[in-house]
């Protein structure tokens, strides 16, 4: 596909957006997993959150 003499600018623009968006998504997914794991570890140790304790 011929994108003209300035094709590089077009590719780099789209690539930059792709990289940043992918990076953001990656960070969000990894962070989510990290928090969920920490939460699980704490719950295994028997620590209750106040709201679940009072709901019982």
């Amino acid at each position: 596909m011929d994108l003209g003499p300035h094709a590089a600018f077009i590719w780099i623009s789209y690539a930059a957006v792709a990289v940043v968006v992918a990076g953001l998504i990656g960070w969000l997914l990894l962070d989510g997993r990290k928090q969920a794991a920490a939460l699980e570890a704490l719950e295994k140790r028997g620590i209750k959150r106040r709201s679940s304790a009072s709901a019982e």
Binding site: D2, G4, F9, A16, G32, R45, G46, K48, R49, R50
Partner: protein
């Protein structure tokens, strides 16, 4: 019947709802962006002036739009925190800031790359790019201010005040930048008028990016809710260490 924001005030409720909604938002966003990319490259014409580089517009404009929309969202969340004490308002503001800053940066980057073949330089002090640059500084200020406080509650409220000050002064900044620009460049108008044949791909991409942001924002909010739970539980663990040691776990 409670309003949506009232229903979402309960973090647990929010987690349930967002877990169900998120895959849909992400899926539709992906579909729209794929469709938009197809349209941008294969179903829209080259500009008679700019040639193919007009295709950069299809990602630059959505990024620029998001940079402003997200700041507005942060302002609304900040208002919700300070005036209504909505429990998730700060979570929303905190989650949105880095994502908004990233899109603002992308708006600047793509704007610069669009400008080089068009105007010959990588940076031009036109009204729009300059306004986006200052908006970037406002985002950095929000992130830096929050990071400077160990007391999360104080950091949250102060960042909210800054966000509201920022949103109040933003129209004045844009007005002053426009003024400054017309002073120094009275003739050139860098705004590319959008040809009708390009409006549809632009709309699709803008919509896709907006949904993409909301998917990321929901995920970031979920992460933040989890982070705060973890922190609260760790505090309890430290406080109750004696209790756990002397009594059997329930």
């Amino acid at each position: 019947m409670q309003t949506l924001t009232q229903q979402l005030a309960n973090p647990t409720r929010f987690m349930d709802l967002s877990a169900r909604v998120l895959p849909w938002v992400a899926g539709i966003a992906a579909a729209l962006i794929v469709y938009g990319l197809y349209l941008s490259f294969f179903d829209s014409p080259a500009d008679y002036q700019q040639g193919e580089t007009v295709r950069i517009m299809y990602i630059h404009v959505p990024c620029a739009w998001l940079s402003m929309m997200v700041y507005g969202l942060i302002a609304v969340s900040s208002f919700g925190l300070l005036v209504f004490r909505h429990p998730l308002a700060d979570v929303s503001a905190k989650a949105a800031a880095p994502i908004g800053a990233a899109f603002t940066f992308l708006a600047l980057l793509t704007g610069s790359l669009w400008g080089k073949p068009m105007w010959g330089t990588y940076w031009v002090w036109d009204a729009r790019l300059t306004s986006v640059l200052i908006l970037f500084f406002l985002y950095l200020g929000l992130i830096a201010l929050r990071a400077a406080f160990e007391d999360e509650s104080a950091g949250a409220k102060l960042t909210a005040v800054l966000a509201l000050v920022g949103v109040t002064i933003l129209p004045i900044i844009k007005f002053s930048v426009n003024w400054w620009n017309t002073l120094h460049q009275p003739s050139t108008d860098f705004t590319a008028t959008v040809d009708p044949s390009m409006r549809w791909p632009l709309l699709v991409m803008a919509l896709g990016f907006t949904l993409l942001f909301f998917a990321m924002h929901l995920k970031a909010m979920r992460n933040e809710v989890l982070r705060r739970r973890v922190k609260a539980m760790r505090t309890q663990a430290v406080a109750g260490r004696d209790r756990l040691a002397t009594q059997p776990a329930e």
